[in-house]
Symmetry: C2
Subunit: 227 residues, 2 copies
C-alpha cells in the first residue's frame, strides 16, 4: 500500500490517544502505517504511545522525532521508543555519518527498528541552508543505507533526483499531500513509495471515506503517469 | 555564573528524577542552570520534568530537544515544554528562518522562553555537512536573534568566529567540557558565556566538590587568557 497517515490531533482534543485509536480503526485497511511527531509523543506520554503501538501492530508506527544529535543520544531515544512498540524512527541526514548516523543505524538494526532519514523539507526556509547541501545529503544516505528517506511531495524534482541517486533499495516517503498542496499520486509518480497524509484524512468528518478516496486518487494518477 | 550542568543520568538509574534532584541540590549555588535532553524528557515524562522545573526555579532549565522541524511543529513542542516549567529550548539553525525559526522565535517570545540555536556540533560527522554551511548558520542566527547559541567547547575557533559575527547580544553556550575533551575555561576564553558540563560533575562521587572545582578552574584559566 502507498498511504501513511500522520496523526496530528487538533490542540483542543483532550484525549489524543482515543482520537488516534478512532482514526486507526477507521483507516486500518488502507494504510501502510501511522506517523506520530514529537508534540504528540510528549502529550501522549509513554503509556499513550504503547496503546497506539498495540493498535497499529503489524503496520508501520513511525516516530517522527527528526532526531539531529550525536549518535549516543539518538541511540538512547531510539532504544526507548522501541520499548514502547514504535518500529520506525525519523532522523535528519545533516548531522552526518561519523559519531552520529553510523551509530544510530547500528542501534536501529539491533532493535529491529526502521531508520528513515530526512533529506529535504518543503517549508520556505528549507531553501536557505538545507537545499544547498542536497547532494551531500544524497551521498550521506547512500553511506547510511537507511530503510527509508523523507522527501517533500511538494517538490517532485527532489524526489526524482533521490530515486535516481539511491536506487530502489531505499523507500521514499513523501509528506505534504493534501492540505499542504501536493495532489494524491504526484509524489508516487515522481518515484516515492509512500505518501504521508495528515489533516486531509484526520480532520474530516469521515476519515475512512477520505482515506479510501485518497487511495483511489493515487491509483488514478499512477495510471496516467505510468503511460 | 558560567556553568550549566547537563543532566544525563546513567542507563541503570531507575528514578532519574530523584537522581537529578540530588545533583541539583548539591550544585545549585554554583550553576546558572540545568540542561535536559530528549531521552531524559521521554523517560521522566511530563510529571518528572515538572518536578525538576520546580527544583530549578529561578535558574535556566534548558530542554535540549535539538528541534529541527517546521515552525508549527516546533512551536507546539515549545508551548508544551513551557507548560511544564521549562524556560529555554534548543533548536537547530539548519532548518532556516521562513516557516521554521521565525515562527518558533515568535512562540518563544510569547511564552517567555529563551530560544537557543545550535550553530555547530563537535562529533566527527559534523564536518561532513554542517560545517560547510557554518557561514550561513551565522547569518541565520543574526536574522533570528535568539537568546543564545550552542557552539562546541572542543572547537574554540568556531566560538571566536561566532562571537565576532554575533556581537555581545547573543549568549554562547559551549558543551564538551570535561569527558569530551575541552578544559574548563577554554571556551570562555574563546568568547563563550557558559560552559555546559555533564558527566565530569554528575558521574563522580561528589558532584558538589566537582562543580566548585570546575568553577575554580574556569576562573584560573580566564585570569590567564585575559592578560
Amino acid at each position: 500500500m502507498t498511504l501513511i497517515i500522520a496523526l496530528d490531533p487538533p490542540m483542543n482534543i483532550d484525549d489524543i490517544v482515543e482520537w488516534s485509536l478512532n482514526i486507526i480503526r477507521s483507516t486500518f485497511e488502507v494504510s501502510s502505517g501511522y506517523k506520530i511527531g514529537l508534540p504528540f509523543i510528549l502529550r501522549a506520554g509513554a503509556d499513550g504511545v504503547k496503546e497506539i503501538a498495540r493498535a497499529v501492530s503489524g503496520k508501520l508506527l513511525i516516530a517522527d522525532l527528526k532526531l539531529a544529535d550525536i549518535g549516543y543520544i539518538m541511540s538512547l531515544t531510539a532504544r526507548f521508543m522501541s520499548t514502547l512498540g514504535v518500529n520506525a524512527i525519523i532522523a535528519h541526514g545533516f548531522v552526518g555519518f561519523k559519531g552520529a548516523l553510523e551509530e544510530l543505524k547500528s542501534t536501529c538494526d539491533n532493535v529491529n527498528m526502521k531508520l528513515i532519514l530526512v533529506l529535504a523539507m518543503s517549508h520556505p526556509g528549507a531553501s536557505e541552508i538545507m537545499e544547498k547541501v542536497f547532494d551531500d545529503m544524497l551521498k550521506l544516505a547512500e553511506r547510511v543505507s537507511p530503510w527509508g528517506a523523507v522527501l517533500p511531495a511538494t517538490n517532485t524534482k527532489l524526489i526524482t533526483r533521490a530515486r535516481n541517486a539511491l536506487g530502489k533499495q531505499i523507500k521514499i516517503l513523501a509528506p505534504g499531500v493534501g492540505v499542504q498542496g501536493a495532489k494524491p499520486g504526484e509524489a508516487l509518480c515522481a518515484g516515492a513509495d509512500f505518501e504521508i497524509v495528515g489533516r486531509a484524512i484526520t480532520r474530516v468528518s469521515n476519515p475512512k471515506e477520505a482515506a479510501f478516496k485518497m487511495i483511489e486518487e493515487q491509483k488514478q494518477r499512477l495510471r496516467l503517469c505510468q503511460h
